[in-house]
Amino acid sequence: MPVRFLRLLFPILCCCAAAWAHAQPVCDLVLSGRVIDNHDRQPLSYAEVYVPALGKGAVADQEGRFVLAELCPGPLIVRVSHLGCAPVMRTIQLLDDVVMEIKLEHHAEELKEFEVLQQRPDEHVGQANKELDKASMEKDAGRSMGEMLARIPGVSSLQSGPTISKTVIHGLSGNRILTLNQGIRQEDQQWGTEHAPNLDPLSSDRITVVKGAASVQYGSDALGGVIITEPVELPRERGVSGEVRGMGMLNSRGVGGNALLQGGVGGIPGLGWRVQGSGRYLGDSEAPGYVLSNTGVREGGASASVGYRDHRWNASAYYSYFTRDLGILRASHIGNLTDLNNAIESGTPWYVGDFTYAIASPRQQVQHHLIKADGGYAISERDRIVLTYGYQADDRQEYDIRRGGRSDIPALDLFLTTHTADAVLNHWAGKHIHGKVGVSGVYQENVNVPGTGVRPLLPNYRKQSGGVFLLEHLPLSPNVELEAGARIEATQLDVAKYTFDNVLITPQHRFTNSAFTIGANWSVKDSVRLRFNVGSAYRPPHVSELYSEGLHHGAAAIERGDAALSSERSLKGTADLEALWFGGRLRTDLTLYADRIDHYIYLRPDGVELTVRGAFPVFQYVATDVFLYGVDATVQLKLAQHFSLRNRTSLVRGRDLAQDEWLFQMPSDRMENALLFELSQVGKWSAIECAATSQVVFAQSRIPVGLDFTLPPDSYNLIGLSASATRTLGKNEMRIGLQANNLFNTTYRDYMDRFRYYADARGTDLTLWIRYSFGKR
């Protein structure tokens, strides 16, 4: 086995070495500067600066500043574009490092409209936020969104075997983080620890993770942070462009691909469209010693959008469909505590079959539809109103291993529909203060589809909520910007549940919550930027926490809800420092945070109960007060030309204040060290990147006493290698990459994997991907 992997890895090493050997000219010049509005000299945040010949570019920051490094001496053609501006081409003679100012013609209304439509990150004044750009997503294109996002410091994943991955931000996950898909709150039964998000990460070009409490902007659930999948702007000029990507994954013997086609409509400037589709087909994953039986995945997604905009009006419509069929590790399905103890003692899965693509019970089938429509109108030169409506239908079937040929009848069959609507007024008050005021509403119904032959785990319910919010930005000086806002929201929850005696009860709950935020961005100097934010967030208890009653098979536990629980309330402070030192040779990015959550709801052991399957531990949903704090850090040092070293570290601590105890299932300390090699051009190849990484995850030593069935797994270190490069083919380009994870087939288990009791994690994995992009973008 290892020999085969080494043979496959050989090309990675060779291509990096060859690229290095060919690097004759000294290409270490830096082009930096600012992109500003030609009229009022305001910075143009997130303008794109692109060198077509190199296939290389940079996105300006909030203050319009950009840096392009590792350029070769000579003439350089730069294309600068910004939303709502005509792109500008500049030719620069590069002999030494250059600092320049680029002015664009800009229409302010269009920019603001885009900010609102796409929830651009400059909305998050003071909030620490990190982006996963297309290039980073592309490297993990064969894996799930949870696995992609776990590359960001402060972000990890809560897994249920190799197929199910949920994002954890600063120690919080599930209903304590919010996902915005195309600007709409994603509602897909995210309360379940074994429910992965039902969306296709490849339907967006960029994913932003906001690491602060953000209920003012987004409403309930944004306690730990917000994941925002952002679509690219629709083309507005005539012409068709697109891309096709294919990938193959060695571990799980899987294939995947996606395709995108977009264009503007000739004769109608401002009208654009895009269609996109993707899919993955994976068989069983493999741990170093054995097959992880029944861990196959089938996944497909498609989306289509059309949009129009001119100086006054804009409107767009978007539809996406997502389907996933996945197997749940067979050996994780156990009958009782005896089986669990046997699994822990034996150290190997009790069921291992031959590799197969087939998916058997236990398995999950989900389908998710999203329809979004929005429209905006400029009611004055600077004020604009935007309406957004979203409809989601989430259809989930879970199949269990059952007697009497019932394995093909879902044991859980839920249909969740959600309507969301927002109306937002973007306005200016005087010369400097600008912001938005809005109303938002959510209407949601959860229905148990009859016919399962099992008492529903989650009762039927109807949830209605409405809120109003105000968020204002105040630039104090060119270097300091303040943000302040508040929201108030009321939620009504109607539940319909049959008791054990088959009596229908329909309790009603009402929750009223409010949140505030205060933030500041301070550009101390060109190379040092600070962000501070103190914000609050809230979360009404989920119906599962109020009304669960019964046996949770995967957890070998009886779980009991408490209908008297009230909302969780979080107060979180973040401080984020981004800085360049020694002329850009050293880059540091440090985020500190502290999060106090009152009335934090969790499962506490509450005795045992006798059933026909033996004695089961009982867990009761209770509330406590908790305090979480931690650090995320990225340090990148340029060692020599083309080479740099990068360290990413995440530390999080969670304390239960009432019990004076550590919190269960908090990510342990982790650190990634990488040696990076980057080269802008060798022959016809450009944007050559190679990396060798070491991912160290330490054993979790901070655990609550007596809550877990076994001790946390040991520390582990996984070595990875990756290489990618672009080849320009006329007007089109092809990018190809190879990525190896867990290179040495290390046997390990992760504390944050709920299936660590049953089996080892995935062994060596090798992904080969290729993308072809055509047409102008």
Partner: protein, 193 residues
């Protein structure tokens, strides 16, 4: 600002109208059908001891009327006779259904994937399998039991789903290498006199 207010109220109105547009399924959401009978629940497990050579018929019964969770299960226990022979059958019922479903028939139908194990502690009793699945291996719904001297203790009865019946000792009744997952695990208090 006046115009702003006008447009804002328009926006609120539109949002409210959208939120107000509910589906006709409302009634169903908060007035669902009663849950169908829990089809696989085992509420009752009966060990029926049919006395041979003069020993009377006895019964050990476990009942958890509302299934897993809810109320606590109860035991109804007869005392077995010492140094006697019994034919033992296991009957599993789902008494949430009316009439009660005999779950043991489903176990019999899927006999290849099921096996009972008997583990006495402190009691002088031994079980011998008296039935066979399609592969000629025991299921354990039918056994013969031989009691020894008077004793007091427990009998643990376990039903494993998908056990490795070819594992060492498994077909002889040793659970050690059986694997699989547990469908039933009941510990009966037992008195032999």
């Amino acid at each position: 600002m006046n115009t702003n207010l006008k447009y804002m109220s328009l926006a609120i109105f539109i949002a409210a109208a959208i939120v107000g547009c509910k589906k006709d399924k409302n009634e169903d959401v908060l007035n669902p059908q009663p849950p169908s009978n829990e089809e696989e629940v085992i509420t009752t497990m009966i060990l029926s001891f049919n006395g041979l050579t003069g020993a009377g018929d006895k019964e050990l019964r476990f009942t958890d009327a509302d299934g897993d969770g809810g109320g606590a299960p109860i035991f109804d226990l007869d005392t077995l006779q010492a140094t006697a022979n019994y034919n033992v059958s296991i009957i599993l019922l789902n008494e949430t259904a009316s009439p009660a479903d005999t779950i043991s028939n489903e176990v019999l139908d899927e006999g290849v994937d099921h096996q009972f194990f008997f583990q006495p502690t402190g009691t002088n009793i031994t079980f011998t399998y008296a039935d066979a699945d399609g592969n000629g291996r025991p299921i354990g719904l039918q056994t013969t039991a031989v009691t020894g001297a008077a004793s007091v203790g427990t009998l643990k009865v376990t039903l494993r789903h998908q056990p490795d019946k070819s594992g060492t000792g498994v077909s002889g009744g040793d659970i050690t290498n059986a694997g699989g997952e547990t469908d039933i695990e009941v510990i009966f208090p037992m008195v032999i006199e």
